[in-house]
Symmetry: C2
């Protein structure tokens, strides 16, 4: 048992509301939406330092290496990474984390459950608020964090304080009930009433308290998720929840499954700034703006614009807006979104429309993240393709061959260990290797810095599925 | 002397009103704004066939190889390409063409002078109209083509017909005078009056008629331009007007210099459709539209939009608009423009703003056209750069060396003849060559199809100015 607080970072989402920057292959929490760190990195760092244990991360299989890489970039290590075989909303995920943590640290372990795709600019204030909430959680309450509202927002759920509670207090207050997303009129009433806070989906409780609540209010979930945790496999340091058992867990939020039923609820008010960045309008709201209310990225130019979000997310791409009012423009080399800010919640329609067109931009970023690093296609011609491939130190691609293409590899940064049939050699900056069609080959980075390689493929068929894998340290087929 | 009509294609402009597709390095007339041909190609083809001689093209030095390549693509050859050392507006250019043509074909040669960046959808109707105007031009009049107006446009000059003339006639009419761009009220009056046509800047006259007019109304121009034509050099088939003499020619339009002073004016009405594509609003107007009035390119998706132009000009880039009304969005991989259509005439402000920022996108396309073909940078890293290089059949890059970089070349289409120091060899698809730092090298395309090559540079400095040229068939330094 530890007196520390264990951050439980929920990192499974695949939101489409921030397309084109956030895509299914690389969702919002991993993107650098605000500043130089991703939202996930900022979340992990916010809940670190004195009083905090290393985080437990819950994520999906496609994101596990992004999680480890992003944590490594900020020189943090997780105490565990739990892989959800598929997304089942927050109730099963938090239950899995509670069971896992209780087994490791005992029932008294304090869990701070937080989404990893929110913005909380004042990390110090937030940590102080978490510390202030800890005694009430230790005492056996389920503490929710309630954000002081500054507008009649209809996009969030609300928390109604109990009679006599103080919505501006610096310590936990009693909570009457959870309120679902309101209409505009009701939102205005709640803002005026003063005893309502926004539900940020951030919770503090001991593993024992929340497990007891699950047993009382969601016994069926406990059965399925316990089996998934007990049957979990470990794989390269990841804890992979058992898929069959997990499939039996209901897809439900912790608000519905537990919070709306429990009576040991408390709320900790927080007034120092928070946003769920639930759309480009929210990103605009949280961004630094010029005098006319425009939030422009470095490569964006606003001429005679007002209240407009203007972002270029790709190096070497300039965006210019002229005479725009309350618009949002998000540009990347492969996809551009333009809409009034008022239509921010309709961005998912763009994703659906592109899916219907069969356009890969609906779900896929130009950079494709893999266990060993990432690659992007630089140009595709009739019988050739050029890729940039970046391999992280110590990583290795599978031993493979192709039926329809040969490859030229030119190392431009770092050092590669290259296997071609029977020969193995080190290839360094400004050296090249030729992989004939059919040759069995492998690329590794034995060094201490990322290895960057340009691959020029030629052949009659260049699809990713022309691959025969002989060995793979990441156990792919 | 020939009975044929000689098309004189004015191809010097560097308009910024269609940025980002049109840039100084590759202006509007060379872009595929409407359909599969460039405006220049469509203009050349429109004035070809029975009754027309091969065209004379007036263009600037940076565009001479684009002109020859685009004519070759549509299997046309020019009768001459006159290079203007710098743009001096239409009066000196047309005078140079008249002097050059008169020297070749005599004073009776008929000249059809036309901008090469306009849209005239019905080529057959236009050719018939030119034919109908020919007798009046042969008889010694300066015939201007007047477009039947369909709206009170303030962006064009107007032509006022003489009393008793018929603005709907199928033969030339007498012209009272040229009218400058009007304000909205005056434009509405002229549209209502019915005896005004738009000035399209298209003219038909004999070389002798227009030379006489220049001698009568612009004697100083005749002196300077005659010297520029007499002193012209020929170079790879181009006629390069003498720069010092040309510098003495006044920068003035033919309307001001000649047409507003001459009294042998006639106008040929034309009602079958024309646009100068003077802005993205005009492009929208001329484009095919859906039921809601949206003009979308293949990779553009309009969700709940109205009256909007939505274009992606780069392969592999999707553009989505949601809830847009009367907007224009033009996206490329390296630059995006968003504005209300009503602001179309302010696009040049975008170019100015980017120039002030030092952004190359103000003037330069990703593809850089050279005498031997073109290249584009695919990715630039700290110590490496990858380029796609396309060399036209028969073309050759200069014999050169670099102080700071080595290069790997991989041929992916066609065949290259490669010189590296003392060795010369043929390199074909899927073969590579290494050019060590300091080696004297050259790349040629000896074949009949374009040669495509991927170049991977590594070194401490990768600027285009790290080049020592030893020989260049295009006489560059």
């Amino acid at each position: 048992m530890s007196a520390q607080i264990h951050p439980i970072l929920l990192c499974g989402g695949s939101g489409t509301r921030l397309w084109p920057l956030s895509r299914k292959s690389y969702p919002k929490q991993f993107a650098k939406l605000m500043g130089d760190e991703s939202l996930f990195q900022a979340s992990a760092r916010r809940l670190s330092g004195e009083g905090f244990a290393a985080p437990v991360v819950l994520t999906g299989d496609p994101f596990r290496f992004i999680v480890t890489e992003q944590l490594a970039q900020i020189e943090m290590g997780p105490s565990g990474i739990l892989i959800e075989p598929e997304g089942r909303n927050t109730a099963p995920a938090i239950l899995a984390a509670a069971l896992w943590l209780a087994a490791q640290k005992g029932d008294d372990a304090l869990m701070l459950v937080a989404p990893s795709d929110h913005v909380i600019p004042d990390a110090e204030a937030f940590r102080a608020t978490v510390a202030a909430a800890a005694p009430r959680a230790k005492a056996g309450d389920l503490v929710t964090f309630g954000i002081t509202p500054d507008r009649p927002e209809t996009g969030y759920g609300y928390l109604e304080l109990a009679a006599g509670a103080d919505a501006t207090a610096a310590e936990p207050q009693s909570l009457a009930r959870f309120v679902e997303k309101p209409d505009a009129e009701r939102a205005a009433e709640m803002l005026a009433a003063g005893n309502f806070l926004w539900n940020a989906g951030i919770f503090l409780f001991t593993a024992g308290t929340i497990l007891a609540a699950y047993r009382a209010h969601a016994a069926d979930l406990v059965e399925a998720v316990s089996a998934a945790v007990e049957g979990a496999g470990t794989d390269l340091g990841f804890t992979r929840l058992a898929p069959e058992a997990w499939a039996g867990a209901k897809d439900i939020s912790i608000d519905y499954a537990i919070m709306e039923k429990a009576d040991n609820l408390a709320v900790m008010p927080y007034a120092a700034g928070w946003s769920d960045l639930g759309g480009w309008d929210a990103v605009w709201m949280e961004s630094a703006k010029d005098e006319a209310g425009n939030a422009c990225s470095a490569q964006a130019t606003a001429i005679d614009c007002q209240g407009t979000l203007l972002r270029s997310e790709t190096d070497g791409q300039q965006v210019v807006g002229i005479g725009l009012e309350d618009m949002m423009v998000v540009a990347m080399s492969d996809a551009v979104l333009v809409a009034p800010k008022a239509e921010a919640q309709r961005v998912k329609e763009a994703v659906s429309a592109l899916k219907a067109k069969g356009a890969s931009q609906a779900v896929q970023l130009p950079r494709d993240y893999r266990p060993w690093g990432w690659y992007e296609s630089l140009v595709i011609g009739g019988r050739f393709q050029v890729k940039r491939i970046v391999v992280t130190p110590g990583a290795s691609l599978s031993l493979q061959s192709h039926h329809h293409r040969s490859e030229h590899w030119i190392v431009v940064e770092g050092t590669a260990k290259v296997t071609v049939d029977e020969t193995v050699k080190l290839v360094t900056e400004n050296q090249s290797v030729y992989i004939p069609l059919g040759a069995v080959h492998r690329m590794e980075n034995p060094g201490k810095v990322p290895m960057v390689l340009i691959e020029v493929q030629t052949g009659s068929y260049l699809g990713e599925d022309d691959i025969v894998r002989y060995e793979d340290i990441y156990a792919r087929n």
